[in-house]
């Protein structure tokens, strides 16, 4: 009993000494400007003759022997981990392309798992927010993570570029001051849902449409955007159905859809569910000849494998690969050599671009001293990222809007010409499959 007490006591004395030593100055420093702890701190550190930090958000100082520290945050465990892993790989390739170095400093990439939930994102963000050596962030993967974590990141003076969030709200002009540090290279669902609606109404000439989603925020939002746009164009949405994420037998739900007699069925789901729907849709009376479409969640060769022969003639919306200024095949080559397989999801190229935008902005604003010390003014970096115009990435020519949308929203509609997965090559100039048909 006494021994334990003794141990506890000595531990406490030690801890309180540390706290007393560091707690007080930190508190006084943070009190006047809790939002920007670096601003007051960084200038005190360096020799004023060389560099005066006047940035509103403070500066990151990188000593000659220290690495340039960036972080990736996003889901890396659980059922959605392939989404986060896919983007992480894009960032890693971007770093490889820099030779692993920035201005002679190694680039250090750390990762934080956001678990694809708001609280996971919040915790990851809090951890990143505490780290004053960070210059910039790439992430998150799931929109929920951003909702949970963005306030902490913005308030810490950091800026993050998400390669994979598609929720429209995140780059809404009225998104609020918490989002000041948030941009994305992924396209908002708003663009994609709208493109599909216009294609269906104007090109296919259908007037009655139905949608199916899988309960994920991605699919739910996408089908809702589609439904709103389609109705606005003058069409009628006759059924909006949903299935569970792990559903396999789609006949019941398709039967319900068939009862509403749509001419067009839109299911912006993922590969598994998409495969089952396509496999079974032609078996359902009333849907034998209905036109079907999906979105970028199933824009992969895997989908052809899962969906089989019925995928022929199906429409898929996706970023317009034709509008990619080039470099994508080379990127894929690097990816496959590095990771021993094809990309896991659709946002690897967006992550690559996001990282490169960050590096470009960094190059612009970083102040390099003669001894190799780098100073990165944070507000300037944020502004530089927002000021990105006509950046030639592999996903297109990217320009960032004041509300943080950097994605080149060139959405195209493709038609699947051949259901053999080996023939999947949207880039092929001579015989593309799927083939771009709109716009």
């Amino acid at each position: 009993m006494n021994k334990r007490l003794l141990a506890l006591l000595s531990l406490l004395v030690l801890a309180s000494m540390i706290l007393a030593a560091c707690g007080t100055p930190a508190a006084t420093e943070e009190a006047p400007a809790p939002e920007e702890p670096v601003a007051t701190e960084a200038p005190a550190e360096e020799e004023p003759a060389m560099f005066e930090c006047t940035d509103a958000l403070g500066c990151v100082e990188i000593a000659p022997d220290e690495p340039v520290h960036i972080a990736y945050w996003g889901v890396l465990s659980g059922a959605d981990s392939s989404l986060g892993e896919d983007s992480k790989r894009g960032v890693e390739i971007a770093i490889d392309d820099m030779g692993g170095q920035f201005q002679g400093h190694d680039i250090l990439l750390t990762t934080e798992d956001g678990l694809c939930t708001p609280e996971g994102g919040a915790t990851a963000a809090q951890k990143l927010a505490t780290d004053t050596s960070l210059v910039g962030l790439i992430g998150s993967a799931c929109s929920d993570e951003t909702v949970g974590g963005i306030a902490a990141i913005t308030n810490a003076g950091l800026t993050t570029i998400s390669p994979a969030n598609t929720r429209p709200l995140l780059t809404d002009p009225n998104r609020g001051p918490d989002y000041a540090g948030y941009l994305r290279t992924a396209h908002s669902d708003a663009f994609q849902g709208k493109a599909v609606a216009e294609f269906a109404y104007n090109v296919l000439g259908v007037r009655k449409a139905a949608t199916i989603h899988d309960g994920s925020a991605y699919a739910e939002a996408l089908q809702q955007v589609f439904a709103d746009e389609f109705t606005a164009l003058g069409g009628e949405v006759v059924a909006q159905e949903a299935v569970a994420k792990d559903a396999t037998d789609m006949r019941p739900v398709l039967t319900t859809v068939a009862a509403a007699e749509p001419e067009f069925v839109y299911f912006p789901v993922f590969v598994a569910a998409g495969g089952y729907i396509v496999n079974q849709i032609r078996d359902v009376a009333g849907l034998e000849d209905v036109k079907i479409a999906g979105s970028d969640g199933i824009f992969t060769a895997d989908f052809l494998e899962a969906g089989g022969a019925n995928t022929e003639g199906m429409y898929l919306s996706s970023p317009d690969f034709g509008a990619f200024p080039g470099g994508y095949p080379e990127f894929i080559e690097k990816h496959n050599a590095k990771y021993g397989g094809a990309p896991l999801s659709v946002f690897h190229a967006h992550a690559y671009d996001a990282a490169n935008i960050l590096f470009t902005a960094l190059e612009e604003v970083a102040v390099v001293e003669a001894d190799g010390t780098i100073y990165v003014p944070r507000q300037a970096l944020r502004d530089a990222i927002y000021a990105t115009q006509n950046f030639q990435g592999v996903t297109g020519s990217l320009s960032c809007s004041p509300s943080g949308d950097c994605g080149a929203p060139v959405i195209a509609i493709y038609e699947i010409m051949n259901s053999d997965p080996a023939s999947w090559d949207p880039q092929n100039a001579d015989n593309p499959n799927p083939k771009k048909i709109y716009p």
Binding site: S82, E85, A242, V243, D249, P252, T256, A259
Partner: protein, 355 residues
Amino acid sequence: MRTTLGERLTDWSISGFMWGFRILIVLIVVLGTFFTLQSGKYTGEQWIDFIVFGISQGSIYALIALGYTMVYGILRMINFAHGEIFMSGAFSAYFLATWLNTVGFVDANPVLGLLIPILFAMLMSALIAMLVERVAYRPLRGAPRLVPLISAIGASFFLQYTFRGFFGPGVYAYPPIKALEGEWVIFGIGILRVQVIVAIAAALIMAILYIVVMRTKIGKAMRAVSEDKDTAALMGIDVNRIIVSTFAIGAAMAGAAGVLYALIYRQVNFFMGFTPGIKAFTSAVLGGIGNIPGAMLGGMVLGIFESVGPALFLDGLGIIRPYQLKDAIAYTMLVMILLFRPSGILGERLTSKKA
């Protein structure tokens, strides 16, 4: 014993509430069914479709549930890592089947092309389960009941993320088997071939298991150990060896289920064992845990409820997008069955000592 009026009143109100709850669930089911059938939204053929699908799905649950129930029968422990054993079977079969497929073996010998991956998966699953038993469970014989459960949860995480480490977080597409594509028309109703094959294969495997348990020496020993470990040991049965074989046999069933699952769903992923594992555990409980025919029956019942439930019960009540609530239906049915039969469909009434 003397009871006051107040105590009796609370007793009454509680049992009244319980009956109210039972009646409510039954009412939902009956009313939903009535309205759905009355609306005539689905044809007879569609109902049969639902049931066939439910059977093939249920037979997979049943196969996995056997492993849960056998281990429970002997050790009174929930082997939480069993879902991961199922996943490891699917993964091993995936790599073999892909290779067999690329060399053209599957197209040349469809039967062997199907059988060899199944046997390989059974073998790998059994090996992994024996390893898990040796490392994570054997040192805990005789520990309080929940301790092996936590160890099993740990083993489950460990296996899951080992596979994620080995093979990455991506989805692997199980190779298509031409012989299984398309439908068979039975009594004028088209039924997917793959579903028929899966149901038949599962039935065959379960039949073999039943013979092993009921007719062979090792089966007899297993039953003896599950009746009473001490007495069995006195009779000269090597209890440890029997426990290991139980794990191995249960795991082999799960491995086979993994392949059958991959055949229907055509997808393999490190996380795939989680949901079917929970569902199979539910099936085992539904049938009466520790009871082998119970596990088979429980799996079938759960599979069919899941398939039929949303359309039959919820559609009629005007609940929108009922297919989202498929799992909720399954669990509601589970609760309902436990309300009427607290020890599962085929389970005996337990004394508190055993439970």
